[in-house]
Symmetry: C2
Subunit: 421 residues, 2 copies
């Protein structure tokens, strides 16, 4: 862009202020904007109250160049966003014939007809209209008084795909520069260690730039370049990405992915390898994670959740004496779980996880002790983890799953599966 | 409280503006405050930038009586919240001896010593100090210039328990009135239907009040009363709650719980009943949901995730001819899954789920078709669901799980398990 556009995301909805829903729209929009180099300076949430909304719009006009609203575009009397934004910028609302026709078509087909629904076809004069393929309320964008206003519906399953489809290209068009960003995802090295490795380089870099960020159970290094074209930006980043990958080595699990399983799925597909999982403390979360991704059935056959010792015996056929002798949270039991689920399902890879996710311990191991195992043809690997007694149950479960996926990734790419030390 | 305190939650952290993390603190604090009747009017997010933070504090002072900050209390130079809030209210920062001693003790024991850590012991003069049992940075609260300021650390696993332990009692002390709130959770009736039933009554009510809210896959009716004591408030609400429960009947699954499984767990425990689950399209999510709750091992034995037809045969022993004949997404297969997992594990209840979570269909059924079954001694129930082709994968999976838990709840409490029609 010609200049640095300061952006404010203004989310409208009393339910956000009551804590009934989380403002994931602001998070998702921020992430999409950061990838095209737009600086989000503020998030604001205000309720469905005309006076307070009006005041928030005035505050936003005073400190931001781009105002992005979410919510309040629906058909009820609570939905005030369009009216108040249009008023604040001195624009009348005019009916969009195409939107009216599309709403009418939709309403005729549905049971929830109210004449109010047609109010959704009223839009600020001269605005670019964003047709909603995921719901009924259209979004829009306009430029006025040196400001850019973008309005999005509130439901995340409408807001986010619409923002990606319409608002990102709209904002990019305003720009003479193209900003492109990639994230290098890292598991097995913390954000501060990554920061330490690249601190001096990062301080010297201006374009591309590089910055590390911590996620719940892993971290990432974001690399961003500005250029006249996307191709040029990519070319500027290529050597930096290559350098980063080489320096970090095998802790890099993927580029522009959200989680380890997303990186592992195509590796499994490419090699035609399937896996199965036997889960104790993760309680089905490893299965849930891969099956969140469409197409999981090409790589994941299934598995067992064996939350009790009896289930380990009955579902997996693990010898109760093995558990008796070693305890359920042990190296031999983890090993047997992976091997048994592999044999039972016929998958090429069997995973096994047993551990203590807390808050209660077993009197032997501290909370956070987890054994993660992977059985393949002729070999079984086991990682013993001590994730920390102060960690939450959900952290321990997620981290254990990350290790299981990381072991598969390493094995599939010919890297050492076990961690040093 | 003597008056209606308008509250603003001011969250400080560049990572929020980059979309790397979601502002769950604001959601959780809002929810806790709504239960004691405090009106949250605004959420604001600003980065780790002194000038912009200063300006946001001025905006908040101008429109709110209570300012709650989250984040920016740590030991790094990015952590500015205390300094800037203290400055805005003309208070010096003074060292708290007890916090210094506790930090010193903590740091000596750890590896991450930096002298900066001790900066965390500096707190606004006269503030009430909230010792952090979940991390290192203390929180605090003070009253000045007719405003109340509460500061909380940013990490949700510190912020939320600290807010509950310290800030809620602190804010309640300021009040002459006690506000108490209960939520009646509902599954099987939508928010708009609930609204319709109680609309006239709600419009007439002033104390207690009542309001319906939609959640992702269920809804709730929140009932709130103000009185001089909690006991009095409870007494005022009791007949309203009884009336609501009677009017709504068996779609009410619990009070003050977050999800169906949280309501089912104590029912299972009380009856000494265990369950197991055979999951296809939910992919382990039913198991994950119950095992998120500590103590799940008392009611959940485990189960199988049978994502492929072969896994249904190999892990559950389902006759491949049954699948061949009816398709994997069918009444007979769902029934067999529940019965087989019950037999295999010896649990009193077996659940089975098979369906199409999308985005791809099977060429026979539309996306959103799910069969949910429950096998108990001598009987197996199956619900056939059509959740809608436009729904997301995660909605369909969650809704299928809700039905499975709802079937158990109904059976355990002697209600009809199958839905009318």
């Amino acid at each position: 862009m010609r200049k640095t556009y300061n952006t404010e995301i203004l989310s409208v909805g009393t339910e956000l202020l009551l804590g009934h829903i989380t403002n994931t729209d602001a998070r998702d929009i921020s992430e999409l904007l950061s990838k095209i180099g737009v600086n989000v300076r503020y998030h604001t949430v205000v309720g469905d109250n005309p006076q307070r909304l009006r005041e928030c719009v005035e505050v936003a006009k005073g400190r931001a160049d781009v105002i992005i609203t979410t919510g309040g575009l629906g058909p009820t009397c609570d939905d005030l966003t369009k009216q108040i934004l249009a008023e604040a910028f001195g624009l009348p609302l005019v009916e969009c014939a195409a939107e009216r026709a599309s709403l009418y078509e939709y309403i005729r087909g549905g049971k929830d007809f109210t004449p109010n629904n047609l109010l959704q076809a009223l839009l600020p004069e001269g605005a670019e209209i964003f047709h909603n393929l995921w719901g009924t309320a259209p979004g829009c964008a306009f430029e006025k008084d040196g400001k850019i206003v973008v309005m999005m519906p509130g439901p995340p399953n409408e807001c986010v795909p619409m923002f990606r489809r319409y608002a990102i290209p709209y904002l990019k068009k305003l720009s003479e520069e193209q900003i492109v960003s990639h994230s290098v995802r890292i598991f097995g090295m913390g954000e501060s260690a990554v920061d330490q490795i690249f601190r001096d380089e990062m301080d010297r870099m201006t374009n591309p730039t590089m910055a590390p960020y911590a996620k719940e159970c892993d971290c990432l290094l974001q690399i961003t370049a500005k250029a006249r074209s996307e191709e040029e930006a990519e070319a500027m980043m290529a050597p930096v990405i290559a350098h980063v990958k080489e320096r970090l080595g095998d802790v890099v699990y993927g580029m522009d992915v959200e989680c380890v399983e997303e990186a592992v799925l195509p590796l499994l597909l490419k090699k035609g390898v399937h896996f199965a999982a036997a889960e104790s403390c993760t309680g089905g979360d490893i299965a849930r994670r891969i099956t969140e991704i469409p197409g999981a059935s090409g790589v994941f056959v299934g598995g067992c959740v064996t939350y009790t010792n009896e289930a380990k015996a009955r579902l997996l056929g693990i010898d109760p004496a093995l558990i008796e002798e070693n305890g359920a949270v042990s190296y031999p039991v983890a090993k047997a779980m992976a091997e048994r689920v592999r044999a039972l399902t016929g998958a090429e890879i069997g995973l096994g996880v047993t551990g203590l996710a807390g808050p209660d311990g077993d009197g032997v191991h501290p909370v956070g002790t987890v054994f993660v195992s992977m059985a393949v043809e002729g070999e079984t690997f086991v990682r013993e983890l001590h994730l920390g007694e102060k960690r939450t149950r959900s952290f321990i479960r997620r981290m254990a799953g990350n290790h299981a996926y990381d072991m598969m990734r390493r094995w599939l790419t010919g890297l050492p599966v076990l961690l040093p030390g």
